[in-house]
Every structure is written in C-alpha cells, then in structure tokens.
C-alpha cells in the first residue's frame, strides 16, 4: 500500500476547511460570541444510550484511573454558561466509538455554540444566517425550510409520530418494503421513529436547501426542554441539507432535578442494553443547580458540512487522515 501515507482529501479541501473555520470565527466575532476551549479528556462523559465513548487510562504510578474522550463538548460548555461566560462557541474534536461509514468517522469536528437568552426560533434564524454565509462562497441554496417533525412525518408516511399505534406502524412497514422494522423495533416507539425517519423521511429533506425540523417527539430528546404549549414535543431542532443530517439544537433544559432524572433514566437504559457503563456528570448537575441561564445551543458536524460544500460523496474526501490512515 504505497499511497497509504497520503491524505484522502485533496489539498484544495484543506484550503476549503481553513476558509470555513475562518468564516465561522469571523461570524461569531462580529456577534460577540466568545470562543472557548474545553477538555477533550474528562472524568465523566455523556450518558446518551446511543453514544459510545472511548476510554483511556491516566497513569501516574501508583495512581491509575479511567478517563473519557468527550463525545461532545456540551457538558463543559454548560458549566461555563452557568459560571457566567455569556454566549460561547467552540470548534472542537469529538469522539464516538464504533461510528464509521460514509458519513461517520469516530473522530470528527464539531462546531457547538450557545446563545444566552435565545429561544429556539431565534437560534434557527442564526443557523440560517451562518449557513447562508458559508454557502455563499460556494453555491446558492434554495430558501430555507422550517417544518415541524409532526407535519413532516405525517406528510411522508401518513403516520402520527406523537401517538404510537403499533398496528399502523406495522402496516406502514409492510407496505413500504421495510417489513424487517416490525421485528427490529418491536413496541419501542422511539426506535420506530428512528427507523422510519432515517429511512423514509430524511433522504428527502432539504434538496439543495437548508431544512430545519423542529418539535421532536418527547421520547427523542434527552437534553431539550418540553415545549410549554405541547408537552408531547420538545424544543429541539435538527438541520438537514440534501438528506444529510448536519446538526442538532435545543432550547436547553435548565431544571437540575429534571436533568438528574433523565441522567438516571439514561444510565439505566445503558445498563439494560449492556452498553459500557458511565457515571453521571456530577459537575453538570451542580452547575444546573447553581443555575444555567436560559439559552439555546446548537452543534453542527463540520466534516459533513464540508462534504456538502464540496459535493463530496464520503467523509473520507474531506478528512485528511480518516481512522484507517490515522
């Protein structure tokens, strides 16, 4: 393998990445959002049952302890917010074990930002502004779409995502060439939604346009706040372009008790699924007790954004050394 030492992306892509990073920094500089750095290596990690982390050992003989590579900078950034940082953003690496494919590399780059005092619709305005700026150098996107999860799901499948009817969901799976969903999802409503949304809805979202989907079903979001007018949905937004999921945002949960409860629930789900165990981030819970300001936060996968900006078919085309060459 003579070429294995070489980057999988072109030199042109290195330049595009540098330009995107510069544009993002300029965007937030103008808006007086502070750039921060938080640890990649921590004593605890997110409890999301769908995310697997890497662990490593800190050795200072005779002491040795397990540290976690961060799956997202979220918890540390929220501690900064609770400490009074004001609006902050970060461009950082994140690590997710076992995620590898056309749109995934276990080590990837995230842009994450928090806006104090922003509601979800205000955050969505800002996402659209940022995307408009980043794409303006490349190609024009069609007008931004904003659509609720419920109406989108209903339109593409005829199913109600908020009220689970096993019979209806099974009939849909049979009629739409995914009968395996029936045994795979069983009576797990959240799993059904993941399956149908990712297979039958997502591929159609945002054809050369930014598509923002809000109002996710309550069973689908661990850190978002329940909508104050409709407790069946959360104040969560996901953004898509050309069927590719780019990022996720929340009107953040600030209730320490509720957060503690959701952590416990996630940890018990992890145990049931026999996922590697993690510990509750007690610092985050303390920070929430001390008081997280009302805020909205967003995370965007920059590698996927680069794929879209450069019309690349795989994430390897925008990374210099994906895992198999790292």
């Amino acid at each position: 393998m003579h070429n294995e030492w070489q980057p999988t992306c072109s030199i042109e892509l290195l330049r595009l990445r540098a330009q995107v990073l510069a544009d993002i920094r300029q965007f937030f500089l103008v808006r007086a959002v502070l750039e921060v750095e938080t640890p990649l290596l921590g004593n605890s990690c997110g409890t999301d049952p769908q995310l697997d982390f890497f662990t490593t050992d800190y050795c200072s003989p005779p002491l040795q302890r397990t540290l976690f590579m961060q799956t997202s900078p979220e918890f540390a950034m929220k501690r900064l917010l609770a400490a009074g940082s004001g609006c902050i953003y970060q461009i950082s690496k994140a690590f997710r074990n076992g995620e590898s494919g056309r749109y995934h590399n276990p080590e990837f780059t995230l842009l994450e930002w928090y806006r104090v005092g922003f509601t979800l619709p205000q955050l969505m305005d800002e996402i659209a502004d940022l995307m408009g700026l980043l794409f303006s150098g490349q190609r024009a996107l069609k007008p931004t779409q904003r659509v609720s999860y419920q109406s989108l799901f209903q339109r593409h499948t005829g199913l109600n995502p908020l009220a689970f009817s096993l019979q209806d969901y099974c009939a849909y799976a049979q009629a739409n060439e995914v009968p395996e969903a029936i045994s795979l999802c069983g009576s797990d409503h959240g799993l059904w939604l993941d399956f149908i949304f990712s297979h039958k809805v997502q591929p159609h979202l945002g054809e050369n346009a930014l598509c923002m989907v809000y109002g996710y079903p309550a069973c689908q979001s661990s850190l978002a706040r329940l909508n104050k007018d409709n407790s069946h949905v959360t104040d969560r937004v996901e953004v898509f372009i050309n069927g590719i999921e780019l990022g996720n945002g929340y009107y953040e949960l600030t209730d320490a008790k509720e957060q503690g409860r959701r952590f416990d629930e996630e940890i018990s789900v992890r145990q049931q699924k026999k996922r590697p165990v993690t510990v509750k981030d007690k610092h985050l819970v303390s920070a929430l007790e001390a008081g997280l300001p009302e805020c909205s936060g967003m995370a965007i996968g920059l590698d996927r954004l680069l794929m879209l900006l450069s019309n690349s078919a795989t994430i390897n085309d925008v990374l210099n050394f994906p895992l198999h060459r790292a």
């Binding site: 995934h104 060439e177 661990s222």
Partner: protein, 189 residues
C-alpha cells in the same frame, strides 16, 4: 459456521438470510445523531439472484454461509443432470438444469467453468468470461467484407445465438464475451 456482525459486512461476504445463502453487496452505516445506529445492507440472494435491501440494528449478526466458488470442468449432460468435475481431485458434481439456468447456452463439454457450492451442493454455475465456440449455422459470409457494419445472427454449437460480422463463416470458431453475449473475434485454429 462463524457468525458475522454488521461491522464485518463487506462486499462479497456470504451469509445466511431467511434460510437462503446470500452475498453482501453494499453496507451503509445509518445513524441519526441522537438515535439508534442501523446498517442498511444491499444483499443478493444466491439462490434466486434477487437483490434486496435489508436494515439491521448495528451490531446484530448473521450466520455465515458455507459458499465457495470452485473451478470445475463441464463433463456432459445425461438428459436429466449436467455433470461437472474438479480437475485436481476428480470429484464429480451433478447439477439440475434449473441451477444452471442461462449458463447452459455457453457450456461445452470439457470446458472449464465456476461452480458455486453451498454446503457442498451446486448453487449456481457461471461460465468463463470468454468462451471459444464453433458456429453451426449462419448466413454464408460475404468474403472480403471486413467493415463490421451490420452483422447477422449466428447459432453456436452450444445453442447460443450471437450477432457476428457479415464476413464470419459457418464452421468458424469465434470468441464471445459471456457477460454481454457479444462477439469479440474469430479464432484461428
């Protein structure tokens, strides 16, 4: 037989699905940021040749299928079965016509081909990419016409019908690409 996890599904891997032997064609990792990870797999049923898509939860596994491709020599047709032999071991296999399917029109006694075995029973037979066969019937050729324009049908000794250039004569041996069924060239004996 070993079992394989979705992470090991590579193109060409042979696995059992719904009690049939299948080959993986493509495997795509699908993961909603906040949701369950899936693998969307394109897979060919080796019995029927049909290609289907099937989704698995990431980390699920399938039993491997004992499927191997073996180079064999085609011996003869006894009217009910076709017989093949592994040249090295002289081991013989008999195949029903339905297993052979369309391949039969390229099979000539003594020629080599690939027999796919599942649990040591023939599952499919594929001809070599190129075969050399004699023409048994075609319109008399126009000598000197080497333009290659037009062409005419020619029936080969195995029964296959291919389009050949006008100058090709009955009795001549030609080389044919079995993947496309196209004439390649004449073969000098």
């Amino acid at each position: 037989m070993a079992s394989y996890s979705t992470n090991e599904f590579k193109a060409g891997l042979k696995v059992m699905l719904d009690n049939d032997p299948c080959a993986i064609i493509e495997n795509e990792f699908v993961k909603p940021g906040k949701g369950q990870a899936f693998n969307r797999v394109k897979i060919r049923n080796l019995k029927t040749g049909r290609v289907i898509e099937r989704t698995f939860k990431s980390g699920d596994s399938l039993e491997g299928a004992d499927v191997v491709d073996v180079a064999m020599q085609y011996l003869y047709n006894d009217g009910e079965f076709r017989h093949f032999m592994v040249p090295d071991t002289f081991e013989q296999y008999q195949c029903e016509e339905k297993v052979i399917g369309d391949t039969s029109k390229w099979l000539k006694d003594q020629d080599s081909c690939t027999v796919t075995l599942w649990n040591d029973a023939p599952l499919a037979v594929s001809p070599p990419n190129f075969v050399e066969l004699a023409i048994v019937e075609t319109d008399p050729g126009l000598r000197g016409d080497t333009s290659g324009g037009g062409g005419k049908p020619a029936t080969l000794e195995t029964g296959a019908v291919v389009r050949v250039p006008l100058f090709v004569q009955p009795g001549e041996i030609i080389k044919v690409d079995t993947r496309t069924g196209e004439y390649i060239s004449r073969v000098k004996e």
